[in-house]
Symmetry: C2
Subunit: 224 residues, 2 copies
Amino acid sequence: MIPRLQIELPKALSTIVEERLRDAIVNAELSFGQALSEDAVGLSLGVSRTPMREALTRLEQQGLVVIVPKKGTFVFQPTLEDVEQLASFRLLLETSALERCMERAPAETRDDMTSALETMRVAREAGDTKAYARADTVFHESFVNHCGNVHLANAYRTISGRVAALRAHLSVPHSDQQDLSFGEHRSMIEAFENRDLTLLRQLLSQHILRAQAAYADALVEMQR
Amino acid sequence: MIPRLQIELPKALSTIVEERLRDAIVNAELSFGQALSEDAVGLSLGVSRTPMREALTRLEQQGLVVIVPKKGTFVFQPTLEDVEQLASFRLLLETSALERCMERAPAETRDDMTSALETMRVAREAGDTKAYARADTVFHESFVNHCGNVHLANAYRTISGRVAALRAHLSVPHSDQQDLSFGEHRSMIEAFENRDLTLLRQLLSQHILRAQAAYADALVEMQR
DNA sequence: ATCTTGGACACTGTATCCAAGATACAGAGC
DNA sequence: GCTCTGTATCTTGGATACAGTGTCCAAGAT
């Protein structure tokens, strides 16, 4: 018997392109509404249009781009309504996920949340806004991924990309918001450890709604 | 000023293929795990592999098929765990949707639910199991689509396809289950009209969990 | 009888080519 | 100056050709 060897399974070009574009969108390297011509992007990435199309098709299903027939593909453009509805839906999913985590995997969940919080702390002290936003995303995904329901986790992932894009595009560097946000995350971990579901719900709701308000403000500001 | 004319915008081949395959899967014309070779299916539908690939890519994102690199594409194959987790997640989404409907569009929601129930009644009397399953799907989508949150509705749509496939594959014709199911739907409408949220939640939970149990039974039966 | 190995086959992954719709802009007509 | 229209160009939509890889089966060796 041969011990299991690590094989580098060659990723398909289309998935590489998908991940690359996904990163670019959620890390705000591309702006909302920006055109993504299959030709141009394919040329710049050194791939032909076929894997480009496949990547764009998947990104469309994830809501990160919109494909307009015969016109082109564009980075999604959130509306105020989107920001609001995303927050509302996030709240539903994350609340349910936290409840499930508390029942089935409290220790692992707490550990992952704590380590994500630590990453946030480092990023904040380094003044790295993008890294902070990424760690914020990881924090929320950490407990969603422990909830034990793959369909819930999948649904969360599809909206998580857009939420992350909002964070990266609209969060203000070094703001009081960031301090507030950090404190809220820490409080959530505490409440989770104390198994205080009522408080946890309240904190989560407060956290998400405050973030939503900030994004909404930034969005209006951006549109002016 | 010209009155708005209806123009038939020609659907892309890939979307036609997608819808056709989607129908085939959720109406149990294709069995779980069945291979869908791009060549073979493309030939039988009279399209080339390019739109085939695009359609399959989208269906994969919806969880209706799985694409195994270098091997092929196959109709998704639900496990017992899937059935359970789908039910659990459905319950979360539908409960939330019903609450939102009651607040923002009770009249339209009730009308759509009622008309879907009528379709179910007709199908039941005609003994058309597939039509009954389809109407069942429409019933549940009717209130989800009135909940006012597009992201919730989208998430529901992605799991709805798989739930519908379970229904079509695993529901038993003319069974007591069907009578039970019909009655439960009617009771739900009543509770909705009376704005009795507590009862409605209980009915929905009961309805979904009973269906889950039936699908689980049919699935093990099928695997033997 | 069982294990190994070679090769044929089938499938996907990618590139290239052609067709058709959408848009922008320039020029003609008023 | 304004409007309409024709055309040039850019975009996607689809078809086809080719290369790479995994799978299966059968033949040979142990």
